[in-house]
Symmetry: C3
Subunit: 139 residues, 3 copies
């Protein structure tokens, strides 16, 4: 009998952009699911945010900020057609580069991650409540 | 007993590049699968096309077009080594940014999407028949 | 009864950057798993490498190299804050564009790939042993 476990994680960042390590929150959901072998999907439920896997290193996070601003600048707002009633077109583009979701293997009841792999929530249009979906499927 | 459902969706766009909202087509496949809990994989079967999740807003789609042309211009064709017998190197690169696939949770028989999440087929080298694969796994 | 199969594939490239077609290695794991219907996750276990799907064409691979160097140059190392004790910040960014993982459908015991889809390991900080995880879930 296949097991399914679902959880929404809520975030409300104080700044427009922020990277938050959510690995421990995901491990907690995996534990509650009692799934030993399977797959876990973690995805942003909003289209101006990302879930991705990379290094928890402050210098790299600073590099990500500068790099994404170079590839998809926040301003001038007028450079984007999406920004008629909004100002977050850049956040849609930044999240596209960083990705919407990760799928992680579950092995012997643990997240099957490499030595430096950490799961992050990437917020690119914050200062309001937004959600991440955790869905676990397995046995 | 795990259920599996498979469907190919065919597209033939009139323009080289086009974004098509396929959310309703995916919902139809989910309904036919009778899966209540599981995962759905939707991927481009061609390497110059994308399946991605973002907003169904015409201004944003125009921003995507301009942005992708800036990051991976179609022309001059001679700037790419892939374009000896082809002219679609830019489409391989654009699809890389937009992504090949999405994995979406299935909860209580529905696509478990956030409020603005819509599933798109992104064509970057159209004017011919191309396919998207829908694979549903669950119970 | 759901089946699960897990394998680590090891790579040690002679150059800093290299693209390796691993499709045959993944097919071999699928065969060993005896899974007929399901999903296969293939992901880099390191955060400066990628698993992605694209064309096995040498001109395109040259285009990828030039394009990624344009979007996230290796040098000067001093342009990245991550490079205090390391020199691989560019590899973290390149892998972000190329993606960490692919999820592929399994249908009738075969990888359900389109006509030109090939699975690649993308190394962006090589010359040392690194791993790819293959996880198969299905029946």
């Amino acid at each position: 009998m296949m097991k399914a476990h679902r959880k929404e994680l809520w975030f409300n960042t104080e700044s427009r952009r922020k990277l938050i390590n959510i690995t421990a929150l995901i491990e907690k959901e995996l534990e509650e699911s009692n799934v030993l072998e399977g797959l876990i999907l973690v995805n942003a439920m909003h289209i101006t945010a990302s879930v991705f896997i990379n290094d928890d290193e402050v210098g790299l996070h600073s590099d990500f900020e500068k790099w994404l601003e170079g590839l998809a600048p926040e301003k001038p707002y007028s450079m984007y057609k999406h920004n008629t009633y909004e100002d977050n077109a850049d956040a849609h583009l930044k999240r596209t580069i960083m990705g919407r979701e990760v799928v992680v293997a579950i092995t012997k009841g643990k997240l099957d991650l490499g030595p430096w792999e950490q799961i992050f929530y990437g917020e690119f249009d914050g200062k309001r409540k937004k959600r991440v979906l955790v869905k676990i499927i397995g046995e």
